[in-house]
Symmetry: C2
Subunit: 344 residues, 2 copies
């Protein structure tokens, strides 16, 4: 399909354009990159690459710019990944391990991803699915108000207010909590749907409605995404005029969530980094953006993603190492918690 020269040149075009944000011409390529070819030869190759749809010209007599498809070929075949310095890597992991709170951990991870990549970072909180219920408690507030607290094996604590129609006595509450614990402790959260919950509610007898309220709330995760450094998007020259649409998009967690889900579903394999480029996005706001996402796991289950978002002119190699290292870090931290708990 592409010969070696075309590959070298495409790689050079992407590298140059990523760092300069200017269309790159044959002369620059011949000078700056050790290709050993004259501009004229390079021009021929460039024309071929353009015919293949991998490069575009913003206008006649301008240099070339990679097309979405060009970036696609670049990330799949040409990109040179350089691993992080072990010391840097250790430092990142240390910072992640230091966070004492789930929320902290995610925020910290997002910040690190943003700094490493120079992009906006998005971290999806661990889905409760796959995680198990590690502790459950009903805290009485008034005789009609309770707070349900669920601690999952991910370390996530979710709490939900529950309001009853009728008063309930404190010892009834604790009996109820005991009953719930017997049935729910150590059960995976994603098993708690439909029939299971119904039958449990049946068995619990009189507080059926309360149980239903409790259970349907256990399912919903609290806040599902953490976003860091939207300012990095605003700094990109390609978004100088049009940040507002993007910011709007990022302001709606439900959209971000759906989109992250979509991105992950495009991953070649569960552990791999998924990359979505420009026009490959469904949402019109993202047509000029690329996203690089890596999943992290809890136990063996994929739990969420670390992602960075930038213009299609993105330093994909850096982004890939950043998200994969940080996702691995998350997996490790969660893994440590799990095994630490197993020790007891």
């Amino acid at each position: 399909m592409l010969n070696q020269r075309q590959r070298d040149i495409l790689r050079a075009v992407v590298d140059d354009y990523v760092s300069t944000a200017e269309p790159v011409g044959s002369r620059t390529l011949s000078r700056k990159y050790g290709l050993g070819l004259s501009p004229a030869t390079i021009r021929n190759a460039l024309a071929d690459l353009e015919d293949e749809g991998l490069l575009r010209q913003p206008h006649t007599s301008a240099g070339r710019v990679p097309s979405d498809q060009g970036y696609r070929v670049f990330v799949e075949e040409l990109m040179a990944l350089s691993p992080l310095e072990p010391s840097v890597r250790a430092d990142l992991l240390r910072r992640q391990a230091e966070a004492d709170d789930l929320r902290d951990l995610l925020t910290q991870t997002a910040r690190l991803a943003a700094v490493l990549s120079g992009c906006t970072a998005i971290v999806r909180a661990p889905r409760p699915a796959g995680a198990r219920i590690r502790a459950l408690s009903l805290v009485p507030v008034t005789d009609r108000d309770l707070v349900l607290v669920v601690v999952s094996s991910t370390g996530a604590v979710t709490h939900r207010p529950i309001t009853l129609d009728e008063p309930i006595a404190p010892d009834e509450v604790s009996a109820l909590a005991l009953g719930l614990r017997q049935h729910l402790l150590d059960r995976p959260l994603d098993a708690l749907t439909g029939r299971v919950l119904e039958s449990l509610a049946e068995r619990m007898g009189r507080h059926r409605d309360l149980i239903r309220q409790v259970l349907c709330r256990v399912e919903a995760p609290d806040d599902a995404v953490v976003i860091a450094q939207t300012a990095n998007l605003a700094r990109q020259p390609e978004f100088q005029q049009r940040v507002d649409g993007l910011l709007d998009f990022l302001d709606r967690p439900e959209r971000v969530l759906r989109w992250m889900h979509e991105v992950r579903s495009g991953a070649p394999s569960p552990g791999a980094v998924s990359i979505r480029i420009g026009g490959e996005h469904r949402d019109p706001e993202l047509q000029a953006c690329s996203v690089v996402a890596a999943s992290y796991t809890i136990g063996d289950e994929v739990a969420g993603e670390v992602a960075v978002l930038g213009p299609t002119r993105l330093d994909y190699a850096t982004a890939v190492t950043a998200v994969s290292v940080l996702a691995a870090g998350l997996s490790e931290v969660f893994g440590a918690r799990l095994s630490g708990e197993g020790r007891q």
Copy 2:
């Protein structure tokens, strides 16, 4: 100081500039606003206002633009506040009352403020200070991990993980929780500092360290600010090129918090709306911004603020009504919760 004519003209200049974002000239003023004066007369008044430092000329032979000081005079003496339609107001309150969660309530309020004002909105979560501890629970997770859950009278639920050096038995945990409840329930959170905590830790005997961990964590509120619609900032013509600094600023909750605190301290009276304009801000990022903030209360205590942020060319009247209505709404919702709880 200013005669009636100057006041009318200043008001007209601000009104016009706010809606058009263009420097306004004497002719426009004479035509669009029913001043009954010729452009020449207006010019004289404009020159006077400029001498007073209330107007600026971007350059000779351009129209006038209000200076920070001009806006200051406008908001303090000239601004015409129009109350919201009762139906709209009721609708807002309904939406606020519908939120079932503290977090929801704040997010919803921020969104509403952003929509009403067309600006970016910031809501500071209720400070635990003044609020009382309504429920407290220690949820055992493993034999060394606990989760502390505190429900305050504001409806806020805070949870904190606690890790111990030594294992603790479940019944010890519940005894401890009972003890803590005896000492802490219904105590105002802001009374829980220094000596009080120390002496409590002393009295609790052997789990002194645990107690200390618990108590110092009760104090810290979870996330203190909710920000909505940064996109509205990016849409303002004055920030087309320079959003990134602002976004950076808003990305750091600790800075936003300190700043909100500063803004509030400038309020003329506890209940009043505080307005800070352009150069009145200490932070360099905010020199071109204005903020309008209203406090909401829980019981009689000021608990937090609802604020909107925009360019100095801000529709102050709309902003003031928006934040005051929404802050009043918050106060009402919190008040209802308090009295609802008092009924029991």
